[in-house]
Amino acid sequence: MTAVAAPARRRRRRGDGRDAWLLVLPALVPVVLVSVYPLAQGILLGFTDARAGLNQAVHVNGVDNYTRLLGNELFWSSFRIGLIWAFGVTILQFLASLGLALLLNLNLRLRWLARTLALVPWAMPPVVIAIMWRMMLNPTYGPVNDAMRTLGLPGDINWLGDFSTALPAVIVVGVWAGMPQTTVTLLAGLQNVSPELHEAAAIDGAGAWQRFWHVTMPALRPVAVAITSLDLIWNFNSFALVFVLTSGGPGGETMLPALFAYNEAFKYGNFGYAAAMGNVMVIVIAAFLFVYLRGQARSRES
């Protein structure tokens, strides 16, 4: 796509720049109006004392929001929960999806069924996923506790209502909900792994584990880096699933930063303060994105 220099193409070249702009314009207008401009305003809002309500005077208050945030222990505990959630879900998701993708890449029977099942969560609204899992995890009628009882384990655990189990339970639901994207991407990446290399390694006497580690993984690395980083971003910013599952409870044990900022803005009306929280979240995510881009650039070089 890049190295085409046919005469017909060169003849067009002069008008290319303006043509491209014209073609992009219809998409550009809404993007600037509803994405770029609000984003810029949102970042600035983080340096003001804006509040909900009509005719509220807005003052720029510099870094006041951030010094206040520094002392806000609830926010930092929510931040810590958000990082545990994002990393927990992303890592488990990656391991589970990698296993599934490897299995789907084999010629197993019933593969079509597993493949379809693996895609279904993608099509489900997060609200429905949350409702379904709240039923699954219900302490009295939920089948998870039923199964525990059958196995002779304590079967009266209030998964989403107990301090010690709420966050792990929510993380499992997050893994379930996010597996499709990761599995599909890894599966597509696996199809780029050269079978010849595998054969050569097998002939040279490499065991299955060695072949996985030295042939499959290096070929999969760029795709794996990309999808785990995207997963991390998506998970850190995720909202609907946990909002319906627990609304941040019990006692703020699953209060993700997105939920926290939402409450600050639309429950208490502190727009400026909530935007400041958003800014802090962006900086953290940007740090991860930086690592991601650098990691990708490095793997491309080698």
Partner: protein
């Protein structure tokens, strides 16, 4: 969950003539393990869906009894009818359909020329667009939603489906553009040039050569946009307050909070009904979606 990783793929290239003895020796005991792992995944992924389905078909009496079996005694469809009535599902589905369909049309119409430009012209735009597509994933919704809320309020688009359409359009655009650009890039430029040499004008080339080849990609992209807007919750939660204007996810969440916890069967039925459209669409496009995502990703 990690132990399922244990059986790594033995060399089983699908149709290649491989006759390596070491793999055959290991297969005798790795195969059952692989099937066991696959079964584990299918239970983890599939059981919640079966449970939802079985709950939706149970009578309230069955649901109340503590020792009822997993399968319903008989297929009882009352929950579906009751759920539609009580949760006001028909109206919510209508709102969702309106918002999702309008969003899909707008996104498709504006992303088609833009995707073509990004795939075919080598201008600075390409870099800018890529950066924007990446950035749009990074920023938390909260930063965007407050100013959007304030702006839309000024122009009277809060509590208005059209405001939601506007937000969804911009929200779905990065991904649609990304996918569609991949599909355009997959069409050989030579074909267009051949058309041009044969005397077809620019528009003719686009209409007779590019558009037909792009049709599967367009279908996949538009269905994906539709599903995304159909399922979206956060923006709807902030921008829509009037119960009569609520989309399906909002209505479900509200029903869940109000009486769904008591009327389990109806709640399950309502959840299933809300999932069916996107599920059907998804099963139609699943193959195209995969290839579209990858071509978009690889041809960067």
């Amino acid at each position: 969950m990690t132990q399922t990783l244990a059986p790594p793929s033995p060399p089983r290239p699908t149709v290649r003539k491989v006759a390596e003895p070491p793999a055959r020796r290991t297969r005798t005991f790795t195969r059952p393990l692989q099937y066991l792992a696959l079964l584990g995944y299918m239970v983890f992924l599939g059981f919640p869906l079966l449970f939802l389905l079985s709950t939706s078909l149970k009578t309230p009496r069955e649901l109340r009894s503590t020792d009822s079996s997993f399968l319903p005694e008989k297929l009882n469809w009352d929950n579906f009818g009751n759920a539609v009535e009580k949760a006001n599902l028909a109206q919510a589905a209508g709102n969702s359909l309106y918002v999702a369909a309008l969003t899909t049309v707008i996104v498709t119409v504006i992303s088609l020329p833009a995707a073509y430009a990004l795939a075919r012209f080598r201008t600075k735009l390409r870099g800018v667009a890529t950066v924007w597509i990446l950035l749009s994933q990074v920023f938390p919704f909260i930063l965007i939603v407050i100013p959007v809320f304030l702006v839309l309020k000024q122009v009277g688009l809060v509590n208005n489906p059209l405001g939601l359409v506007l937000v969804y359009t911009v929200w779905c655009l990065p991904f649609a553009l990304w996918m569609l650009r991949g599909y355009v890039a997959a069409i050989p430029v030579d074909l267009e040039e051949a058309g041009a040499i044969d005397g077809a004008g620019r528009l003719r080339v686009l209409r007779s050569i590019v558009l037909p080849l792009l049709a599967p990609g367009l279908v996949a992209t538009s269905l994906f946009t539709f599903i995304s807007s159909w399922n979206e919750f956060f923006f709807a939660l902030v921008l829509i307050q009037d119960p009569g204007l609520q989309t399906l996810p909002l209505t479900l969440a509200r029903f869940f909070g109000a009486e769904g916890q008591v009327q389990l069967g109806q709640l399950a039925a309502a959840s299933l009904l809300a999932t069916i459209p996107s599920l059907v669409f998804f099963l139609i496009i699943q193959r195209r979606l995969t290839s579209g995502l990858m071509s978009g990703a690889v041809k960067g």
